[in-house]
Amino acid sequence: MIDAAANENAVAPVSFWTRLNENRTVLGLWFMLPAAAFLLLFLAYPLGLGIWLSLTDARIGRAGEFIGIENFTWLWGDAVFWLSVFNTLLYTIVASVIKFAIGLYLALLLNNNIAFKAFIRAIVLLPFIVPTVLSAIAFWWIFDSQFSIISWALIELGIIEQNIDFLGTPNNARASVIFANIWRGVPFVAITLLAGLQTVPQSLYEAATIDGASKWAMFRHITYPLLTPIIAVVMTFSVLFTFTDFQLIYAMTRGGPVNATHLMATLSYQRAILGGNLGEGAAISTAMIPFLLSAIMFSWFGLQRRKWQQGESDD
């Protein structure tokens, strides 16, 4: 075998093409190509196109011309746009904080030895596996101005006298969509944090017990610090998903009443697709990028420090 190869080498020198293909770096690039093509085509291209559109006056059915940052200067003076920014921040911050609190609480609860543990864990995941639009429609009914089960129950209990207009007044509508988002987002936070909790070695809790730590001290000094890397990841994703939410709002309120629940994503859709102003819609979407980038940077730097602190091998 070796002899044969040696003879062959002696007779015919290996071609440039063959040598190129045997080079590890070139080979690596070849293997990366499918993934790279996929990412370029379905991630980079749409993103680039979106940013390009935001710099044009494209409308549906008419390729736009480059107009610089005119779309953005126009949005700068648009009160509805600023309202949607406010709504998006409110929606993201309130929902994320509450999702984190409830998710962590549930995770700690489910990490204990309780009866039917596997079953309860499965139940907790339910809101996550129901299609968003389906749960949005269910909430739409739950919050209906006439047939709301909440209003009905409260009236039957004698707590209120007439139906609550959940989705009809600005602040009620905001609270309602935030509630629906929390309901939908808690399982993700809870299950991921639960996975994180299970990586904390039991012996640390035993050592802390002997050191005299109370339940609270164990959470404060052991569970929480060891969980921070996972909290950073979970909350980054949670914030990203919440910030870019579209389905829930669109199925429940379409941004109403009087734009009180319009998020940047829904406003962008309304202006670009329904209104036909692709350029302006794209500009609203592009305006989300700085917010999302800062959320990513925040968790990135948060994670860096932890990695140094903690390390992978601790025994």
């Binding site: 012996s203 050191d211 005299g212 610090p225 992978e312």
Partner: protein, 355 residues
């Protein structure tokens, strides 16, 4: 410092009882080692002393106080775990100070006590490191430091050296013993390694299948094992056992093995036991090469430098003999092995108890 009393302690997990009534009394300042094969209940017993496991029945006391219902933090004990259980997000000094901080001890006192412990263990240069930046032996020392800082009544060690390599284990063994001689704190130490037990303990408790087989000083267990289990467990290489029956009680008593070899009993033969089946036990180091011993043929020769270990076939039984002198032996060679009749042991073949 305090004594520890364990009285008829039992432990069940569900319907399975794994510790069947254990009585041990540990004197103030004593270094006691619980030793036994895995699954014998030694770690569970230690965890019951620590308060990490509930006691099913019986009583454990530390000093004058019965601690059955007392939570771990009130028992005034400190524990070193097999995997060290260092808090990975805290530095060495934070790890050591943690228990004092929880008690809201004054800063100055915390620093002082951490420094004293670090000084004893040679950890001063490492105080600001994180556990993952330490070697196995250093982590082990931090775990001990965490225990020392608290100045507890009792130290509990749960197989602390199992995760270390052989050389470091020997070194840490000495360090732990030295530490005990210095602090004189009552210590309960669990291991499956009989060498650790022999070298470190004031008193060894040999456990097997949830019962105590024998309690005694290391050399006492070595010289006078109460039964076949202890005889086989203590000592390395392990004692040779050969079953057979006793002959010649009235003349020079011996044990005739199943392979027809006569082994001398000296004064060990119990009265009126001619023909009684028994197990003959002799330690590898109690054989001498002589012209008149039992004939055997060499199977394997293993020189270690300081001694030479010979596995030989003696009438169908494989026996191990250890000699400190250098003999030039070859596999297949016929030799005569003479057990020292004053140092042999005889066990009942059914109960395994010493005769």
């Amino acid at each position: 410092m305090a004594s520890v009393g364990i009285r008829d302690v039992r432990k069940s997990f569900g319907p399975v009882e794994i510790i069947h009534g254990v009585d041990i009394s540990i004197e103030d300042g004593e270094f006691v080692i619980l030793v036994g094969p895995s699954g014998c209940g030694k770690s569970t017993l230690l965890r019951m002393i620590a308060g990490l496991e509930k006691i099913t029945s019986g009583e454990i006391s530390i000093g004058e106080r019965v601690v059955n219902q007392m939570p771990p933090k009130e028992r005034d004990i400190a524990m070193v775990f097999q995997n060290y259980a260092l808090y990975p997000h805290m530095t060495v000094s934070e790890n050591m100070a943690f228990s004092l901080r929880l008690r809201r001890t004054e800063n100055a006192i915390v620093t002082e006590r951490v420094h004293i412990a670090a000084e004893i263990l040679g950890l001063m240069p490492l105080l600001d490191r994180f556990p993952r930046q330490l070697s196995g032996g250093q982590r082990q020392r931090v775990a001990m430091g965490r225990a020392i800082v608290r100045d507890p009544q009792v130290f509990l060690f749960d197989e602390p050296l199992s995760n270390l390599d052989a050389k470091l284990r020997v070194q840490m063994r000495t360090e732990i013993k030295e530490l005990h001689q210095r602090l004189r704190t009552t210590t309960v130490y669990v291991t499956h390694d009989q060498i650790e037990a022999m070298t470190m303990a004031d008193k060894i408790v040999v456990m097997h299948d949830g019962i105590v087989e024998q309690i005694g000083a290391p050399l006492e267990l070595y010289d006078n094992p109460a039964n076949r289990f202890v005889a086989g467990f203590i000592g390395s290489p392990a004692m040779n056992f050969m079953s057979g029956h006793i002959t010649g009680v009235n003349g020079s008593a011996s044990l005739r093995t199943e392979g027809g070899i006569d082994l001398p009993l000296g004064a060990k033969a119990p009265d009126a036991s001619d023909g009684r089946p028994a197990v003959y036990g002799v330690r590898p180091e109690h054989f001498v090469l002589s012209g008149e011993g039992a004939e055997a043929s060499v199977v394997v020769v293993e020189p270690t430098g300081s001694e030479i270990q010979v596995v030989a076939d003696m009438g169908g039984d494989h026996v191990v003999a250890v000699f400190r002198e250098r003999h030039d032996l070859k596999p297949g060679q016929k030799i005569h092995l003479q057990p020292n009749p004053e140092l042999v042991h005889l066990f009942d073949s059914d109960s395994g108890q010493r005769l």
